[in-house]
Symmetry: C2
Amino acid sequence: MGKIIAIANQKGGVGKTTTAINLSSALAFAEAKVLVVDMDPQGNATSGLGVSLEEGQPSIYDVLIGRAEAKDSIIHTSVENLDIIPGNINLSAAEIELVTEISRETKLKKALAKISDDYTLVIIDCPPSLGLLTVNSLTAANSVLIPLQCEYYAMEGLGQLLNTIGLIRESLNEELEMEGILLTMHNPSNNLSKEVQKQVEEYFSESLFKTIIPRNVKLAEAPSFGQSIIEYDLKSKGAASYIDLAKEMLERIS
Amino acid sequence: MGKIIAIANQKGGVGKTTTAINLSSALAFAEAKVLVVDMDPQGNATSGLGVSLEEGQPSIYDVLIGRAEAKDSIIHTSVENLDIIPGNINLSAAEIELVTEISRETKLKKALAKISDDYTLVIIDCPPSLGLLTVNSLTAANSVLIPLQCEYYAMEGLGQLLNTIGLIRESLNEELEMEGILLTMHNPSNNLSKEVQKQVEEYFSESLFKTIIPRNVKLAEAPSFGQSIIEYDLKSKGAASYIDLAKEMLERIS
Ligand SMILES: Nc1ncnc2c1ncn2[C@@H]1O[C@H](COP(=O)(O)OP(=O)(O)OP(=O)(O)O)[C@@H](O)[C@H]1O
Ligand SMILES: Nc1ncnc2c1ncn2[C@@H]1O[C@H](COP(=O)(O)OP(=O)(O)OP(=O)(O)O)[C@@H](O)[C@H]1O
Ligand SMILES: [Mg+2]
Ligand SMILES: [Mg+2]
């Protein structure tokens, strides 16, 4: 029970949050019990799921610094079977506050161990960096899902990311596996997209998800309504692709 | 002489590097002497300008930790009048190494003070976070240029960013001004783009650049050739928009 997947890529704007929200929603609609953990100080997964943190309500920051338990920080979203531990700007303080703490890299792992059995899947949305918040997420996770935008800079950063995952596996989390590389914002009529797809298929074919997420404006519209794509526009290509991805994931988990 | 502009936004993938490279190239073609400082551990501005760091060549990381002088870290790019102090993965170590240093926020300011008079303009490309690297950049800068992708999450993060700029102005750099907000990846046929544009015009009209950068695939293709848009495809809409932006900037500087 309770597989933990970190969605990570230090390159910004590649679809980490969009994947965290829409994969978890599609899985929740398929009756899996899913928890999203928002480890990004921007708090995009929190607002994208229509959740706003009330004054005094604990966030993942409070859990990391030991001021709150994970179970007391869980919020139910408007989607059945989908919960979230919210993130907010306080998280950027955690990067500095945790630096001098003992076992600073395993704070999240210890916190999630107490609750992960209550869920089929825990999905962690990471910030665009390889700092302590992402290190904590990769240390807590059983596997890592890498959204890869079909563009040049995203390809360039992949080497650094795979390096970091290797270092974490050696020193902090020997079970960390590769869940897979997910091509995002793919545009079949654009040479750059096709070029990146070809390169990834050549070097990383065994890690590549069969599902490819197309560029689809509905995916960019949905968060302004605090809804996943499943609720916002079930007939869109964006929804269809994340439902396909959820099916691929369910085959792996069962 | 030597105005220093930081290009910052903690939201990932909004066009910081694309703006740093193409604005500085357009200015360099207009005979301004420009220095780009790559403060992002991804090193995208460095590779996007076709520069690769040789073994033993100092990067901005070496300058920050006091191992090299800024003037010894400058590399000439293939574009006349355009130099760069490169960035690389070592920078992510700086975030942790600098935390316990005295005056950790002013390392970059002190380093650039020695060389900024040799240039018309110094442009700093920031990583997608509000950590020590961005704080150093905002402390060293005379003004901040904010690329704003015309999408929901980007709008949402603007408040946090303006807050952080205010804090820096109060405690670390009282001269820090707003250079302006630049709309990027704008698509006039897409409602979301138009909606974000309307909101920004309503709340921030006096900070908004007249120039708007359109979504243009040529801008995403250019970095794979290590070229700015000016060299890669001068006739593209992407090149035209960054040339317009450079003209707006030149009017302000002179
Ligand atoms: N397949 C897609 N088609 C169209 N737009 C998309 C798609 N996926 C994501 N977007 C939009 O692109 C932008 C970047 O996506 P998102 O915020 O999910 O990336 P991220 O990797 O989480 O960014 P960050 O690095 O800032 O955390 C957002 O505005 C989002 O709505
Ligand atoms: N106007 C544009 N039209 C089309 N593509 C663009 C445009 N501007 C940038 N891009 C592409 O979008 C992606 C994100 O841009 P860029 O890397 O410059 O953003 P960034 O803010 O520097 O990202 P990060 O937060 O990772 O540093 C890149 O692949 C880039 O080539
Ligand atoms: Mg995100
Ligand atoms: Mg960048």
